[in-house]
């Protein structure tokens, strides 16, 4: 596995929407490099003929009856919201100035 650089960790944190500061990057980047080096031992262990397992119990298309059941009320669903207004979640702006 290629060495993971501080810049790469910063980029991954950005993709994962975590605003790491410099001190955190200094702390986490070397730790991640060590972990990645360790898990890299997995390369080449399984041949091309081995099928992947994504789930321990093979199952597909689990259906249920299409019936109406009670759900949460709007009040319940909004009870934990940081901000709400008129029975809706109120969120910060999602578009930039140019949009």
């Amino acid at each position: 596995m290629p060495e993971i650089s501080r810049d790469e960790v910063a980029h991954l944190a950005d993709l994962a929407r975590i605003d790491l500061d410099d001190a955190e990057l200094d702390h986490l980047a070397p730790q991640l490099a060590v972990i990645l080096e360790s898990v890299a031992s997995i390369r080449g262990v399984a041949g091309d003929d081995v099928p992947p397992t994504s789930h321990p119990i093979p199952m597909t298309n689990v259906f249920r009856e299409d019936v109406v059941v009670p759900g949460l009320t709007a009040e319940q669903a909004l009870a934990g919201a940081p901000e709400s207004e008129e029975q809706r979640f109120k969120v910060p702006r999602i578009l930039g100035d140019e949009q």
Binding site: M1, I4, E8, V9, L12, A13, D14, L15, A16, R17, I18, D19, L20, D21, E24, H27, L28, Q31, L32, V34, I35, L36, S38, V39, A40, S41, I42, R43, G44, V45, A46, V50, P51, P52, T53, S54, H55, P56, I57, M59, V62, R64, L72, Q76, A77, A79, G80, A81, P82, E83, F89, V91, P92, R93, I94, G96, D97
Partner: protein, 515 residues
């Protein structure tokens, strides 16, 4: 200490059935015990040297449930054998009206508007819920030190870790604060805390217990299960919470096996005809001598009880740790994307930019996730993001999925020869708080022996086998890793425990001297 807190759940159920105690009396006894030794006042901060097994104690709710239980008993309409026996629940399961934090600041103060299916079944059966137990943040860890609300302390030695992630549930049961607890196990989070606290921890077969309302760490690995002081209690609790749930599409639609019968049968100590395989790969360098000594004694005791014991090689298990630390972060990074500061939980609004524009949703998200997640969660999210990124996906995540197949094949091959697989649960006894908290790789090694069962979806149980000579701590208990659903899981576990009884006298957790 009240005698009631020393009894097993099965004994308490008998006392209730005989009218010799009431649910209110024994619920109060456990609440008193919590008040005396847990050192938490419900604020979620463990400021003193208490056990700190609980993040939230719900005394009023538990007593109300206990009163209702006593009324049912009086009317001759108990809902279940365990009706009225109190239980503690790991803080990763949603509880209607009771805070659920997952040990994280990002969910501080969040109160779910619904119950997890496991919690619903506990309530329907009449078990008063004492409170929510401490855990590593989002179940990421092996020591409970990654809880944002401070570590849980091992009741055997409060300078040491109680295991993790479910250290709170294990410590609560070990310290007689609760006769029963619910844990969850993604890579060993029920079994490894069981090992280092002298309790019984059972990870059911994947799909055996509903995951609805369990805040997911890794969907393909997570399972809720019982944390108890005896194998019989584990069977009682497992039967209660197990079984198909239409709300969890991965829950297995078939009857729960007769676990209680199996446990009672195994307690007889006759293991004639049971074939046990000791896993060759889970021994050697890195395994504490005292752990291996007690383990070998357990193996000898099983032979003495009539079991046929052979060595079994599972060659792919040496890759289990690397496999797990690619698959788990990949799933976790995806799961934890839901903590976005928009609909529930913490919202941190950063200062406005220089141009005076209010922060965008994305900026709020990033500031919130930085403030709300601890280091271990950040490490794993970033690791998972890496493993899933294009260019690395096939080499790492894809490869891990293939090795997962090889590990499942090792189990399948082993179960052609034996009924149950056996290994120590964890390589060492409880280590001092702080020793490994900033050395992630050293921490990950705790789950070396427990991870393969999660990858393959097979059940596993950790039962006490005594105290290590060098430090007098529990943790050398054999982790029986039984195979497919049809295998006699509990006779093996129960027999191992019965055998351990004879070797070391009283169950080790009952000797717990402190507090």
């Amino acid at each position: 200490m009240s005698d009631l807190t020393r009894k097993t759940a099965a004994e308490l159920a008998d006392l209730l059935a005989a009218g010799e105690t009431s649910s209110v009396e024994l619920t109060r006894a456990h609440l008193d015990r919590i008040a005396a030794i847990d050192g938490s006042d419900g604020s979620g901060e463990g400021a003193d040297d208490g056990v700190h097994a609980f993040l939230h104690v719900d005394a009023d709710g538990a007593l109300a449930q206990a009163r209702a239980s006593d009324e049912r008993r009086a009317a001759g309409s108990a809902a279940h054998a365990l009706d009225g026996v109190p239980v503690a629940v790991k803080d990763v399961l949603a509880t209607d009206g009771l805070p659920t934090t997952c040990g994280s600041r990002i969910l501080e103060g969040w109160v779910p508007p619904y119950d997890a299916t496991v919690v619903r079944r506990l309530k329907d059966a009449g078990l008063p819920i004492l409170g929510k137990t401490n855990m590593d943040e989002f179940a990421m860890g092996s020591s409970t030190e990654h809880s944002a609300y401070g570590p849980t302390r091992n009741p055997w030695d409060r300078t040491r870790i109680p295991g993790g992630s479910g250290g709170g549930s294990a410590a609560a049961v070990a310290a007689f604060e609760a006769p029963l607890a619910i844990g969850t196990d993604t890579g060993g989070s029920i079994r490894q805390p069981g090992a280092v606290t002298g309790t019984v921890g059972m990870k059911p077969t994947y799909g055996g217990v509903s995951r609805y309302g369990l805040v997911a760490l890794a969907n393909s690995l997570d399972q809720a299960g019982p944390v108890t002081r005896t194998v019989l209690d584990a069977a009682l609790l497992h039967e209660l919470i197990g079984g198909h749930d239409p709300l969890d599409s991965t829950s297995v639609d078939r009857p729960v096996p007769a676990l209680v019968d199996a446990a009672r049968q195994g307690a007889g100590g006759d293991l004639a005809g049971v074939r046990i395989g000791v896993i060759t790969e889970l021994a050697g360098d890195g395994w504490q001598p005292g752990v291996m000594t007690r383990f070998q004694e357990s193996v000898d005791a099983l032979v003495g009880a009539g079991a046929e014991v052979v060595e079994v090689s599972c060659p792919s298990f040496v890759h289990a740790l690397a496999t797990y630390y690619l698959i788990l972060p990949a799933e976790a990074s995806s799961n934890l994307a839901k903590f976005d500061a928009m609909r529930y939980g913490l919202r941190v609004v950063p200062e406005a930019a220089g141009n005076g524009a209010p922060p965008s949703a994305e900026e709020v998200m990033k500031a919130t996730r930085d403030a709300g997640f601890g280091d271990e969660v950040k490490r794993r999210i970033i690791l998972g993001t890496y493993a899933l990124s294009s260019g690395y996906y096939d080499a790492y995540y894809g490869q891990a999925q293939k090795v997962r197949t090889l590990i499942s094949r090792d189990f399948a091959a082993a179960f052609e020869k034996v009924d149950v697989l056996l290994s120590p649960t964890a390589p060492t006894t409880a280590f001092p708080i702080g020793e490994k908290v900033d050395d992630p790789l050293a921490m990950y090694l705790n789950d070396l022996a427990t991870i393969p069962a999660n990858l393959a979806g097979v059940p596993g149980i950790s039962v006490p086998s005594g105290l290590a000579d060098e430090d007098g701590l529990p943790g050398r208990r054999p982790g029986a890793r039984p195979g497919a659903r049809r295998r006699p899981v509990l006779p093996g576990g129960s027999g191992a425990r019965g055998a351990a009884h004879r070797e070391v006298g009283r169950p080790s957790c009952w000797r717990r001297p402190r507090s």
